[in-house]
């Protein structure tokens, strides 16, 4: 099965009408994955036996109308807990960790009958922009195997782009869904903070983390995001707002006539020419369809990266204190006393980038530096959120590029953390403010043929306008129809 030929609604209908069985579909999916894996390396763990068993069960039980994902193979990022299925966060620290419960998002999907094909690769503890920080291996971009898939949800993005699955769960703390979506020419949605429960997500920056989907089509994304959204008694930051049926509004009548699009001038500063060209032509296209495009200013944009790296690293340093080698996770050998267990287990169990973030966070929170760094950054965070509020007073969506560049070469930036962090300049402000935002394929670079993503940022809990805008763009262009040819020239 190559999922470039179909979508979620079509597969659901085919399964219901027994045009294909869940068992056949799952078998074909694994055949396809195994064919690709040697080159792409998107998965840390394949869940084949359990998936085949589940598929047989679905075939026996039959599928109800509301079981949209029943019998449909999907993938899960490996920082999302799956009961009894190894969940590593791509860290040596959790190399043999077997969760004792499912994340709420996984539980919801299980109840709906989805087939979990496996756990996808990421940067260790979701810290990174390339999957090169995975403790195990680097995932390759299906469009050009010498390039990174982006990060941190790079395994999920590559699995979708390679046609392994229709959708894969990701998490987004500072761009970790949108950036890999952009690099792989697929759709990636970070819902509003609080829209989706974070229960069972391995915590990184708790006031930023959000779960979402990487998919090929906008409609599939809307359908799948609806399925995982809603309040959860286990996550007190999850919102009690009603979850709309976003996909119901995506049809031939959907349009962008009169849509007030804001384009921040700061989102074109320091952006590569090839990316700028694609974004400008995407904006022209939406304007030709009746949208009103205005240039605006988000004056604090350039402070987003430093403020984010202070705050997210501070939260990370606190969240990662739990990895002490005592109750679960890696414990160093030949330790003399309990202090040794802590220090040696953490020193040997964490990779370099994770240590760097822990150090930055600990430093920013430490006595004498708290006011100058943590507190200052938290104030800047409010100013960034206010910039968005001001623009949204008279605009419906904010548009710009997702990444300043297309996917870079493996190895190109790994030794230069500061350059790597600057990749997030267009994505982190959204997490600071807790807004929903999507990356949708906008076109291809004239320089290297790699995909370019258009970022669509919405008001809090207004995922609908984002989906509408993305849907219209997708349906009126051919960008999404192009698929990578693995190992060949694109």
């Amino acid at each position: 099965m190559d999922f470039y030929q179909t979508d979620l609604s079509q597969l659901h209908a085919d399964l219901k009408n027994k045009k294909i069985s869940a068992t056949e579909l799952t078998k074909e999916t694994f055949d396809h994955i195994k064919e690709n894996e040697e080159q792409v390396k998107a998965f840390i763990t394949l869940n084949e036996d359990a998936a085949m068993k589940k598929a047989a069960e679905i075939d026996q039980q039959g599928i109800n109308d509301d079981q949209l994902t029943a019998g449909i193979p999907l993938a899960v990022k490996d920082n999302i807990l799956t009961k009894g299925l190894k969940t590593t966060a791509a860290s040596k620290m959790l190399e043999n960790f077997n969760p004792v419960y499912d994340a709420t998002v996984v539980e919801k999907l299980n109840n709906n009958g989805f087939i979990n094909v496996g756990k996808t690769n990421l940067d260790e503890f979701a810290m990174g922009s390339s999957t090169e920080n995975s403790a195990f291996f680097t995932t390759h971009n299906p469009w050009d195997l010498t390039r990174v898939p982006g990060g941190s949800s790079g395994g999920s993005a590559a699995a979708v782009a390679a046609g392994d699955v229709l959708g894969a769960l990701g998490t987004d703390t500072g761009g970790s869904i949108r950036m890999p979506a952009s690099f792989n020419g697929i759709v990636g949605m970070k819902p509003t903070y609080g829209r989706v429960s974070r229960w069972g997500i391995i915590a990184f920056g708790s006031s930023f983390d959000q779960v979402g989907w990487l998919t090929r089509t906008v409609k599939d994304n809307a359908l799948l995001t609806q399925m995982i959204s809603g309040s959860d008694e286990h996550d007190m930051t999850s919102s009690t707002k009603e979850v709309p049926n976003w996909a119901a509004q995506l049809n031939d009548d959907t349009n962008v006539k009169g849509l007030r699009i804001a384009v921040p001038k700061e989102y074109f500063e320091g952006i590569n020419d090839d990316v700028q060209a694609v974004i400008k032509s995407a904006l022209d296209h939406l304007e030709s369809l009746g949208a009103i495009v205005d240039e605006v200013s988000l004056p604090h944009t350039k402070y987003g990266v430093p403020a984010y790296y202070i705050l997210a690293s501070s939260e990370a340093s606190s969240n990662l204190q739990r990895y002490d080698g005592i109750r679960y996770g890696f414990r160093a050998k030949d330790v003399k006393n309990i202090e040794d267990v802590y220090v040696r287990s953490r020193t040997e169990g964490f990779g370099e980038e994770v240590k760097r973030r822990i150090m930055l966070g600990t430093f920013s929170l430490s006595a004498g530096f708290y006011d100058a760094y943590f507190n200052k950054a938290a104030k800047v965070r409010r100013l960034i959120a206010q910039d968005f509020d001001d623009v949204f007073k008279d605009h419906d969506v904010i548009l710009g590029a997702t990444g300043a560049s297309t996917a870079f070469k493996i190895g190109a930036e790994i030794d230069d953390p500061q350059t790597m962090y600057m990749n997030d300049v267009l994505t982190v402000p959204v997490n600071m403010a807790g807004l929903p935002a999507m990356s949708v394929p906008a076109g291809f670079s004239s320089k290297n043929g790699m995909p370019v993503g258009l970022q669509i940022i919405g008001k809090p809990f207004d995922e609908q306008t984002i989906y509408n805008t993305a849907y219209v763009f997708e349906q009126t262009t051919d960008v999404h129809k192009k698929a990578p040819k693995l190992g060949g020239q694109n």
Partner: protein, 105 residues
């Protein structure tokens, strides 16, 4: 540009974070952290007088629940203990708090 952080400070922060760096790592980390902290210094250009710090983007205020203990099944306890590096008879085993061979360091 002179780094804002010294090797001594990095060592101190590492101690707080329960991490350890070998000499050459310490030098590398000090340089890298220094240049990132230089980038943090950009924030001093922002006027934040009278701005309230923002630490959450949640739309919810306080959420209360009943404080009630829930008993776990033996299966759950076993599954938890299976993740522990070292166990003995239902307990998690750790080395002695004070190492008897310790030399006072």
């Amino acid at each position: 540009m002179a780094s804002k952080i010294t090797e001594q400070q990095v060592e101190h922060v590492a101690e707080l974070a329960k991490l350890e760096f070998k000499d050459e790592e310490l030098t590398k980390f000090t340089t890298q952290l220094g240049s990132i902290i230089d980038m943090f210094e950009d924030l001093t250009n922002v006027d934040t007088d009278g701005v309230e710090p923002m630490t959450s983007a949640s739309d919810r205020e306080n959420v209360m629940r009943e404080d009630k203990a829930v008993k776990s099944s033996k299966e759950e306890t076993d599954a938890l203990l299976n993740n522990a590096p070292d166990t003995d008879d239902g307990y998690i085993k750790v080395p002695a708090i004070i190492d008897e061979s310790e030399d006072g360091e």
